[in-house]
């Protein structure tokens, strides 16, 4: 193995080499730097990477810690002391974080090295990373297509072997969907399982931080580091954290897998449907019991999601006013003009669109009709899942109804883009956990485009969905497939 081969390793394999002292943490950072400098001109996964800071941390890394010496890429919405945190927005240009988010502190305590800030849809609003105010990230499987979003930079970095693993965040699917479109593993933990302290808020009743990785085992390893109670956050769950790797290796015999009839959605791409159907049959052949279930309020989830998420966003984004940090307009005539022009000039179009929608559904006369009603339907969606999980251990579906799409293909019609969140947003509304793992490819114009299989579990059942996802993954070769940009480089 040469240093050029290092970036293709999983976290688990990298750790073995580090612990055997066959490679040093510093050599890993250097190899990663070479890889990023080589391919990120094409992929554009990163907004910035402070290699010198990472190299310095590597010099003192304790490789015997759980993630000792492992570099982890960080979505640009998570604060790291001394580094920019722009949320890919012009309104946070020039901002430098004064402190570490809890997830960063937890990663460091486990020995990991935060390395690089990944691109995203501005303030995590989008499903393609096209709403970044700074750059376009390309899908490593087909550079003419989006990587998904909003954690598109994190997904593309892992898929292109520009990161061993990454943190993303999601509000309605922004970890799972880009993981699916970029062919990697993405986990959304239970609401409250991972602290959001130091993570810029989009919709506080929905947001969660989670890992994007090459394998299910790597996902479990990162979860072991970041999950847990944080007294600085009121929604943080004060519950014991299991070892998420403990159940890995158990088979699927006796596991009950639910398939919801409401998830048979007409707009689903036939190749996506076929890949997911095959995955379900395969799990059945491995001993899992397949059970039909019903989630009757599924059809309302996207409407509920876009009312609640935009309402909360309109309140959370009120803090960006050009007073304490970030962009400020020039020569305002009064304070109102200062606020309105700073925000009008600093925010991109999707963020503005959502602030308008969110402000409207909270405004006097419309609150009951939209916001309050949506909260009540949300409770019905939560109850649907609670009933389903009485009968099954996990629910499976496609992660996204379509594979990666072309740049510009879906931007003209926001409603169409929103509707693609149908499989992912219900889990955020219900606060449950979910994972996306690769389950095949759609073939389009000579390109292989990854398809993601989603597995949802009840609240705090991450260990079980990781076990099920791992058993499926290990019985297939999908996770061993590499994006063209990784293989072309390896053969060079």
């Amino acid at each position: 193995m040469t240093s050029k081969d290092l970036p293709a390793l999983t976290i688990a394999d990298l750790q073995s080499l580090l612990r055997l002292r066959e490679v040093s943490a510093r050599e890993v950072i250097d190899a990663l730097r070479e890889r990023i400098e080589d391919v990120d001109r094409e992929v554009n996964a990163y907004l910035s990477v402070d290699f010198d800071a990472a190299a310095q941390e590597a010099e003192t890394a304790n490789v015997d810690l759980p993630l000792g010496g492992v570099p982890i890429a960080i979505k640009d919405i998570i604060n790291i002391a001394g580094q920019p945190c722009t949320c890919a927005s012009k309104i946070l240009s020039g901002y430098r974080a004064p402190y570490d988010a809890t997830v960063i502190r937890n990663l460091r305590a486990a020995g990991a090295i935060p390395c690089g800030r990944t691109n995203m849809d501005e303030f995590a609003m989008g499903s393609s990373t096209e709403n970044s105010g700074l750059k376009l990230t390309r899908n490593p499987w087909d550079l003419s297509r989006v990587p998904g979003g909003s954690s598109g930079g994190s997904a593309a970095a892992v898929a292109a072997n520009e990161a061993f693993g990454a943190l993303g965040t999601e509000t309605g699917g922004s970890i799972r969907q880009p993981a699916a479109l970029s062919g990697v593993v993405g986990l959304k933990p239970t609401y409250g399982r991972v602290s959001r302290f130091g993570v810029v808020a989009f919709a506080s009743s929905l947001d969660q931080v989670g890992p994007l990785t090459k394998t299910v085992r790597d996902s479990a390893l990162i979860m072991n580091a970041i999950a847990g109670h944080d007294p600085q956050e009121t929604t943080s769950l004060n519950q014991a954290v299991p070892d998420y790797t403990a159940r890995l290796g158990r088979d699927l015999r006796g596991v009950r897998i639910g398939v919801a009839k409401e998830y048979m959605i007409p707009g689903t791409d036939p190749q996506v449907k076929s890949a997911v159907d095959s995955a379900v049959k395969h799990m059945n052949s491995l001993g899992a019991e397949i059970i039909d279930v019903s989630l009757p309020h599924t059809d309302y989830a996207v409407a509920v999601y876009y009312i609640l998420a935009t309402a909360e966003a309109s309140a959370n984004l009120a803090r960006f006013d050009g007073v304490r940090y970030g962009y400020r307009t020039e020569n305002p005539k009064d304070l109102l003009d200062h606020y309105s022009r700073t925000r009008g000039e600093g925010f991109g179009q999707e963020v503005k669109r959502r602030i308008i929608l969110g402000t409207y559904v909270l405004s006097s006369g419309y609150y009951d009709a939209y916001y309050l009603r949506a909260q009540k339907v949300r409770e019905l969606i939560r109850q649907d899942f609670a009933k389903a999980f009485e009968k099954v251990d996990a629910l499976v579906s496609p992660t996204s109804p379509v594979p990666a799409f072309k740049f510009g293909e879906r931007t003209a019609n926001p409603l169409q883009m929103y509707l693609a969140d149908i499989f992912t947003s219900p889990a955020n509304l219900a606060g449950i956990c979910g994972i996306s793992v690769p389950c095949g490819f759609a073939k389009l114009n000579g390109h292989r485009l990854p398809v993601g299989l989603q597995m949802l579990g009840k609240a705090l059942d991450e260990a079980r969905i990781l076990q099920i996802a791992h058993a499926y993954e290990q019985s297939t070769d999908w996770h061993k497939a590499h994006s063209p940009i990784s293989t072309s480089w390896q053969n060079a």
Partner: protein, 96 residues
Amino acid sequence: MAKPSDLDVRYVAKLARLNLTDAETELFQKQLADVLKYAQKLREVDVGHMEAAAHGVPIFNVFREDEPRDWLTAAQALDNAPHQANGLFIVTKVVE
């Protein structure tokens, strides 16, 4: 439920302290009317007996000891300000 046509983007933008160009106002008026029309489907759901859910997890009233602890200094808190002086954030004049 209100009619989607009730949305007046120009008025809501004022409430949100958000300057929009004429082109944005016109575009959002059309696009958000479509989104609100889609949201009308929530009218079909019987929610008469439902409690509103603030989020998916039943946690209420989280308290901690009210004790002083170290946090950012004033200088650190001011460090990102576009305009600061004398330990204060400087903004556009609000009194004559």
